[in-house]
Symmetry: C2
Subunit: 368 residues, 2 copies
C-alpha cells in the first residue's frame, strides 16, 4: 500500500505553501516561473497525480463522461459499431484525461435510471447518448437534469448546421419540447441517413433493380424511421409503389433478419435486391439465399448498411455503406467537451457515408 503523494508532500519538499503548489500545477498566475518549474519537477519525481475525488469535490467536475448502451441481450455484441464508436470517443477524451463510464442495460427505462443515478451521484459531467428514438424521453430528461449530453445520430435537418436546431423540423421539435431552454438541450451529431438511403437506392436503381426491399431495424429507432421515410419519398418520386419498393420491419437480430429474408423471397414476385440495416442481418440474408439456392448477385443483390470486417469475409463480399464510425465518435466527444467548456449545444453534421460496391450487387436477372 504505497502511499500516494499529495500536494502537501510537494509543498513540504519544495518549501512553499500548498496553494502555491496548486497554482503552479494548474498553470495559474501568482507564482514565479522559478517556483513553478521547481514544483513541477518535484511533482514529477513523486509521480503525483491529482486525486480525482478531491478535485471533483472542490471543482464540481468529476472528470468523467458516461455512455449507456441499451440493448436487449440477444442483439448484444453482434455489431461492431459500438466498439468503433467508443474507440473514437476515447481518442478525444483521453487527450483531455477524461474517463469514460460505460454501462450496458436492458432498455431505455433502465438507461434513464442510470442517468438519474449518475447525475445524483455526480459521477459524470456529461453523457453521450446513442440510438435516438421516436418520442425519445431522454433529451427531455437530460435537459431537465441539466446534464450536458450529445445525441449521436440525431435527426437529419437539411439546412441549419449552427446552434440549436431547426424549429420547423418536426422530429427535432418533438424530440425536445420548446419548454426546455435551448442552452440546455442536448447537442446532436447528425447522421444523414436520408441521403445515404438515396445513395443506396440510386445504386440499385442504376443497375436496373425495380423491386427492392429494405430490411429495417427496430422500428422505435429514429434512424430506422428516417431511412424508411427516405425510401418512401424516393420511391414515390420514381413512381414505384410499396408493392415494388418498401421497408419491412425486423429487430436487428440475425434470426429476424433470416426469417424476414425467407418471407420476402417466398413471395410470388420477390424483390431482386435487399438492403439490410446492419451487417449481421445482411450475413444472415446471404446465408438464406445460399440455402435456397438463390445466386448472389446473379439473382439477388444484397447491400449491408454498415460495413465491418464481416462484409469482407463473405463470399461474395458484400456491397456496404461505409461510415467512419470512429470519426463519428470523435466528433461526438469533441462536441461534448465543447459544451462542458461552456459552449452552446450545437447540431453538427457527420460525414456522409460512402457506398462501397463489392461483389454482392449486380444487375437483376433479365426476367425481371
Amino acid at each position: 500500500m504505497v502511499r500516494r503523494p499529495t500536494i502537501k508532500d510537494i509543498a513540504r519538499r519544495s518549501g512553499v505553501s500548498e496553494s502555491a503548489v496548486s497554482f503552479a500545477l494548474n498553470d495559474r498566475p501568482g507564482v514565479s516561473e522559478d517556483t513553478r518549474a521547481r514544483v513541477r519537477r518535484i511533482a514529477e519525481e513523486l509521480g503525483w497525480q491529482p486525486n480525482s475525488a478531491a478535485r471533483a469535490l472542490s471543482g464540481e467536475r468529476s472528470g468523467a463522461v458516461g455512455l449507456v448502451l441499451a440493448r436487449p441481450a440477444h442483439t448484444l455484441g453482434v455489431e461492431s459499431f459500438f466498439l468503433r464508436l467508443v474507440s473514437g470517443v476515447q481518442e478525444v477524451l483521453s487527450a483531455g484525461r477524461i474517463a469514460l463510464l460505460f454501462q450496458v442495460v436492458e432498455d431505455v427505462d433502465a438507461e434513464c435510471a442510470v442517468y438519474r443515478r449518475w447525475w445524483a451521484e455526480r459521477r459524470v459531467d456529461g453523457v453521450i447518448v446513442v440510438d435516438p428514438r421516436i418520442d425519445d424521453p431522454r433529451p427531455e430528461l437530460l435537459a431537465g437534469l441539466g446534464l450536458p449530453a450529445v445525441m449521436v445520430g440525431g435527426p437529419d435537418v437539411p439546412g441549419s448546421d449552427s446552434a440549436g436546431s431547426d424549429p420547423s423540423d418536426p422530429a427535432a421539435a418533438r424530440a425536445v419540447p420548446p419548454a426546455v431552454p435551448s442552452a440546455r438541450r442536448p447537442s446532436t451529431i447528425r447522421a444523414d441517413d436520408a441521403a445515404a438511403m438515396i445513395q443506396v437506392l440510386e445504386h440499385l436503381h442504376g443497375l436496373g433493380h425495380r423491386r427492392i426491399t429494405h430490411l429495417a431495424g427496430l422500428p422505435g429507432l429514429a434512424h430506422t424511421a428516417r431511412r424508411t421515410a427516405s425510401l418512401r419519398t424516393w420511391s414515390e418520386g420514381r413512381g414505384l409503389g410499396p408493392d415494388r419498393v418498401r421497408s419491412v420491419v425486423t429487430d436487428y437480430s440475425d434470426a429476424e433478419g433470416a426469417a424476414a429474408t425467407r418471407r420476402v423471397l417466398a413471395e410470388p414476385e420477390p424483390p431482386t435486391a435487399l438492403v439490410y440495416d446492419n451487417d449481421v442481418m445482411a450475413l444472415a440474408g446471404l446465408a438464406v439465399a445460399a440455402e435456397l439456392g438463390i445466386a448472389v448477385p446473379g439473382r439477388l443483390s444484397i447491400v449491408a448498411w454498415d460495413d465491418s470486417a464481416l462484409c469482407r469475409v463473405t463470399h461474395p463480399r458484400l456491397t456496404a455503406l461505409v461510415r467512419d464510425t470512429a470519426a463519428f465518435g470523435r466528433l461526438a466527444a469533441e462536441e461534448l467537451l465543447a459544451v462542458l467548456a461552456g459552449g452552446v449545444p450545437r447540431t453538427r453534421q457527420s460525414e456522409l457515408p460512402r457506398l462501397e460496391p463489392r461483389e454482392s450487387t449486380a444487375p437483376p436477372p433479365a426476367a425481371y
Copy 2:
C-alpha cells in the same frame, strides 16, 4: 441547474444532526429505528444519493472498477466476446452500485499507463484484466501498485482451485514472481483451454480426421499458447506428428485468417479440418473455401472457437465451442468484489466450454 440535496439538507428537514443522518443512511447502529425511518423517507423524497466524490475522498473508495481493452484498431469490434463479457461483469457490479470505467488502447504499454494513472488518481478500486499474455508485465505492475485485480482467462492449473496458485505450475510462477506477496497477487479466472482443445480434437478425430490445422490467434496471448500446447500434447499422445496435426499463427484478423487458410489449403496434402481461434476467422475461412470451390463439410470441416450469432448465420452453420461468456464476466466481477471486500485473491475455475456440433463438421472425404 437543480441543486442536488446533501445530507445537510436531510438533517435540516428531519431535525437531526448530519452524523445521525449518515448513520441512518448507512445502516449503522447509533440511531433509533424511528429516526432511521424518517431520515430514510426524507432522503427518498429529496432524491438524495451519496456524492461519489465526497464518499471517495473520505472513504478511500472510488466505487468504480476499470477495464482496459488493448487491441490494435484493425481487430477492433470483430469479436462479440467483449461486449458479452462486459455485460456479465455489469450484472454483478451494478447490483453493488459500482461503476465501470472502460478504456480501449493500442497496446499493453498504453494499458499499463492507464493502470498507473487510474491508481494515481484513485479513479478505481480495482481492475479486470483481459487477454493474459506470455511474460505478462501486468500482474507484477498491479501487485506492485497494490491495485486489486482479476485476470480473466488465466493459466490452466489442474488441481488447486483454492487461494493462491500452484507454485509447481510454470506459467503461474512466471506470471507472478514469488517476490510479490501472495495477498496482493491478482486473482485469476481460469478458462480451461487445454480441455476445450482436446474436446475439439476428439470430435474431429472421432469423425475420422487425421490432418487437422489449428489457426491460432496472436502468439503472445497466454490462451493461444495453452491451446497450442494442448494440441501438441494430444497429437503426440495419438502419434500424429506436426505434419498432420499442428497450429499455425495468425493475428486474429479476418485478413490473416483468410490468408492462412489459403496457404494451408494450397499445400500438397492439405488438412481436412480447420480449427479457428475465433468466429471471424472461421467465417473468413469458410468464405475462402467457398471461393476455392471446396465443399464444407464435404471436403473440409470447420470449427470456430467462440460461438456467436455469426456462427449461426452462415451456410453451413458453424460447429463451435460455446462458452457462457456473460457467466465468465459475472464470475470475474464477483471475485473482484470479494477481493475488494477484503478477501484473499483466489484462482477460480470457469465452466468448461461445450462443443456444439452444427453443419460444418463431418467425416473427411474417403480419399484421405
